[in-house]
Symmetry: C2
Subunit: 427 residues, 2 copies
């Protein structure tokens, strides 16, 4: 099934390339007569561009785009130089794609494999961000050998996550040596980015898991998750440098190369929507500790009204239940700890499930829920203690099951001409 | 875990309802101070409204929205009246939701289950269309009993699909007695619609399969599928009433109640993207019979240049290969038959697969591809012969696997005050 040399070459495509300058001008400029329709203006979410280079990687405090594709890879190569070469290639290609350009030149000869799958040709940059992370496996010692000579560089904060109460992790949705988070205002642009990067690693890496996610709603409003509640109201403010430095960015105390990076936890949390939908409205609100429609704390009126965990009703009972999600996850319950949640919903259709509540039906139900993504300066004081408490006591647990889990060190941003994680390998 | 009567009631939510009039004004009007930001204007894809009532159901010739959720259900009830009651409820709720309103009133008491999951509160109508269809099971005779007294009403055109060469159908992605296709410019709005309708049928129906899909790209351009090629260039024109009457709308010859309806085939087609991405560009173009970047037929310059299946190169070989997709699917190869394709890509993350090409790796790969959706006046002259030919000869088959399949009679549009499929039950 090789290319048949008896076939004529491709005057259409070649002429198109010659006339349109695809390779030079990039995806956003293609389309000939349609160019005027797609000219960038700030209101068009497909025309927006996020900068790739900077002190921090994009995709952490970046205003959340409407779609994501996250993926983790196992390293198969045993060569440190292969890893460095891959990170250099990834950096170059990611920088290109965030500008709305293909991962590489499009002027491929007919008898060669194209560098780019071209499925987002003409769509636009769509505010694409590509964020890279390193899992514990990059620093591992295997069969007595320091795999990539990086064992001594592993940050103390990049711990292996402990087992949490009730989690039902499956290996094929868990872990990974390398991590890519692509976010964009278009599902295909996000997936396209990961797909091109994955291709560059054929042979050196193997996909471990990949997951698409989305976020609905109007810009400027707190989005609602699939349970119908606003999610992210109590996030630390990305506009506050002080809060970001305290809660999100690593200060490099335990690993200088991580200064300005962050630690990212990803959890695939299935939500039993059929079960949730059968619950009384008042009960749903007690589970969250918030009113459903307004997003206000129980007993208050507006979404951003202060949460008063000490408030009691006339009988002396707490207004916000002892095991409400909002109480258990709040910084006041967690020694002031905060994490920056930047989660997406996921919807993988349906699967066969055995319900874990009466009458214990066995039937086809939604395979949907939350791709929980949290960034923090140190998971030992962030996600781990917070989630340990939630896993034990949160009323929400009867509707949620943690299926996948991973932790990554997300290095700081990239200087033009350098590559992501250069500080780890150079030092 | 019932609502605790010792807890205070919900002044925040009640006050919100009272002040904002959620139930009356609907989702689109909520948001208080943010209303000005979300005021409908035609450029905002979340503010667009598609009419629900009309001679035909919406979602067939409607300009394709960016997202879909399609689902099929098995009927569990044995009562004809239950089916009618469900269709009445579905019609009313779907009409509401397409206007950006919840499926039912939101002023639920705390101790009751809310009619609407509220996860799209504030998002907007997002051009939602909801399209209903009937599978062969609705007309079936089971254990010698005509299930719903409809056996004699089954249209001859609603055939059981034959087995096609190479298909690998799985039962849990195939078939169904009732069908809902929700399309919207937002993934959560599309899923929300199906989810509320599914809830209304608890007890009477059981979900058989559900599937989310998306479509990328700029409005006014032919979208590209995940293989990177434009998909839909050669569709019959939805602006031509003559073409729609000939190829899409049923004329009711074999079942008067279907006059103005259509027959819809849904196929879940997995695409082995890793394998495809390793193919030479020229070979990919021969598989499709089109140039990748421009979408032009092989040897031509522009997407809409005429396809000349008789063209030969200087050696007398066909310019468009004998087994190219574009040749085998073209009306000239199929006695003039055309179908209206309105497909979406899907992306369900990753799964473990055994490759069916050397070196037959066994590894985690993309679970992604195409939710092929085709509407036609008669599948016996439409999808069935076209796909029979493709299934045998199409070069593309080495990259595609049909996993799911279903066929439905989609009744004509609904008159206000009536319900979808009324003609079937009234007659």
């Amino acid at each position: 099934m090789k290319n048949d040399p008896s076939q004529p070459s491709s005057p259409g495509r070649r002429g198109f390339l010659k006339a349109g300058g695809v390779a030079a001008a990039g995806f956003a400029a293609t389309g000939g007569a349609q160019a005027a329709l797609t000219r960038p203006h700030t209101d068009d979410p497909l025309a927006q561009i996020e900068p790739f280079y900077g002190a921090h990687q994009a995709g952490v405090v970046t205003p959340q785009q409407s779609h994501t594709y996250v993926a983790a890879f196992d390293l198969k190569t045993e060569q440190r130089d292969d890893v460095i070469a891959l990170l250099r290639d990834w950096t170059r290609a990611a920088a290109q794609m965030t500008q709305g350009k293909p991962a590489g030149m499009l002027d491929t000869p007919d008898d060669k494999t194209a560098v780019d799958s071209a499925d987002t040709l003409g769509v636009g940059p769509a505010a694409l961000t590509v964020t890279f992370g390193f899992g514990p496996g990059l620093f591992a010692t295997q069969d007595g050998k320091d795999r990539y000579g990086l064992a001594s560089k592993r940050p103390a904060a990049l711990v292996d996550l402990p087992r949490f109460n009730g989690e039902q992790l499956v290996a094929e949705k868990t872990g990974g040596d390398l991590f890519i988070q692509a976010c964009a205002n278009d599902p295909q642009v996000a997936f396209h980015a990961v797909r091109q990067l994955a291709r560059m690693g054929y042979g050196a890496i193997q996909m471990r898991w990949g997951q698409a996610g989305f976020l609905s709603g109007q810009k400027g409003q707190t989005p609602r998750n699939l349970m119908g509640f606003k999610d992210g109201t109590n996030n630390p403010s990305t506009r506050s440098a002080a809060q970001m430095n305290q809660f999100v960015w690593a200060n490099g105390d335990d690993a200088a190369w991580m200064h300005g990076g962050t630690y990212t936890v990803v959890r695939r949390i299935r939500i039993t929507l059929e079960h949730w939908d059968r619950m009384e409205l008042g009960f749903q609100e007690q589970v969250f500790g918030r009113h459903k429609y307004s997003g206000a704390p129980i007993g208050r009126k507006n979404e951003f009204d202060a949460l008063d965990l000490g408030a009691q009703d006339k009988d002396g009972n707490p207004v916000v239940a002892e095991n409400a999600h909002v109480r258990l996850s709040n910084q006041a319950t967690n020694d002031g700890a905060q994490i920056l949640r930047r989660s997406y919903s996921y919807n993988d259709g349906t699967n066969f499930y055995v319900e874990r509540w009466p009458p214990w039906r066995q039937e086809t139900e939604y395979d949907a829920g939350l791709i929980f993504i949290a960034h923090q300066s140190d998971p030992r004081t962030g996600f781990i203690p917070i989630n340990a408490r939630l896993a034990k006591f949160d009323m929400m647990n009867q509707f949620t099951t943690h299926i996948g889990s991973a932790i990554f060190a997300v290095p700081p941003g990239v200087r033009e001409g350098s590559f992501v994680g250069a500080g780890l390998f150079d030092a």
